[in-house]
């Protein structure tokens, strides 16, 4: 069990405006498969990978076949697959705006909105999650009524 308690600490690189963090340079030559990109975290992730990390290739799993309102396009998608280029365009256009207004980006990197969130030092990440983690056993007991 000695390995569980020790997170691999990574140095947060904060180079100048030109420099890439090692995370950005890692993703630059990767082909990434993403699921959940229409969700809360996924859209920020996609945007970061696409715009900031400029990943070599990004595959995105999106529900297109259900006859329901597609979260990606905001339109009712018919039973057959929608044209992929259309979805791609709409995904990126809508995400650009949504991501820029996203509470994640705003809280994590207000002053460096256009940089990768992972470049931000740890203490800039949601301060509330820490408190949540601390109180969690209590909270859980309350949730399950123990």
């Amino acid at each position: 069990m000695q390995s569980t308690g020790a997170p691999v600490s990574y140095e947060v690189q904060r180079d100048g405006d030109e420099g890439d963090s090692h995370i950005v340079s890692f993703f630059r030559d990767q082909a990434v498969f993403l699921t959940g990109v229409t969700g809360f975290l996924g859209k920020v992730l996609l945007w970061q990978l696409y715009r900031v990390c400029k990943a070599r290739k990004i595959y995105v799993l999106v529900r297109t076949r259900k006859q329901k309102k597609s979260e990606a396009t905001g339109q009712f998608v018919e039973d057959q697959q929608s044209p992929q280029e259309l979805i791609q365009q709409q995904l990126l256009e809508r995400f650009e705006q949504e991501v820029l207004n996203s509470p994640i980006l705003q809280s994590v990197a207000q002053e460096e909105r256009f940089k990768s969130t992972v470049q931000v030092p740890n203490h800039h990440h949601f301060p509330t999650t820490r408190r949540w983690a601390l109180n969690f056993p209590l909270r859980f007991r309350w949730l399950v009524g123990m």
Binding site: G5, P7, A31, V32, F33, K57, L61, R65, W132, A133
Partner: protein, 104 residues
């Protein structure tokens, strides 16, 4: 613009809750051949979700994508976005850090 987009970015139709993730054979083969990093962020986070839907998406969805990941030839990393609630029963961890943990 259009071509530039589709070079770096490709939408794959599918659903993690379906068997084989509802992807076409062609898409699956391409992904298995090329993908080096998988980031699994698909889930339903509704607390009021029907239990069967929640199970299909949040449990079987992970299973499905793990099966896909096993078939990826050049995979370097698999990242699963869970929730804030999952890791707390682990002893000795204390606060869950926003960092990469050692395997095992």
């Amino acid at each position: 613009m259009g071509t530039e987009l589709s070079v770096a970015f490709q939408v794959v139709g599918g659903d993690v809750a379906e068997t084989q993730m509802g992807m076409s054979d062609y898409d699956r083969e391409t992904i298995c051949r090329e993908v080096t990093v998988i980031l699994h962020g698909a889930a339903t986070t509704k607390f009021t979700e029907h239990i069967q839907t929640a199970l299909r998406v949040n449990v079987l969805g992970v299973q499905n994508i793990l099966q896909l990941a096993k078939k990826c030839l050049v995979l370097r990393s698999f990242v699963h976005v869970s929730t804030a609630y999952v890791n707390f029963p682990q002893k000795n961890v204390g606060i869950v850090q926003e960092a990469v943990y050692n395997r095992t």
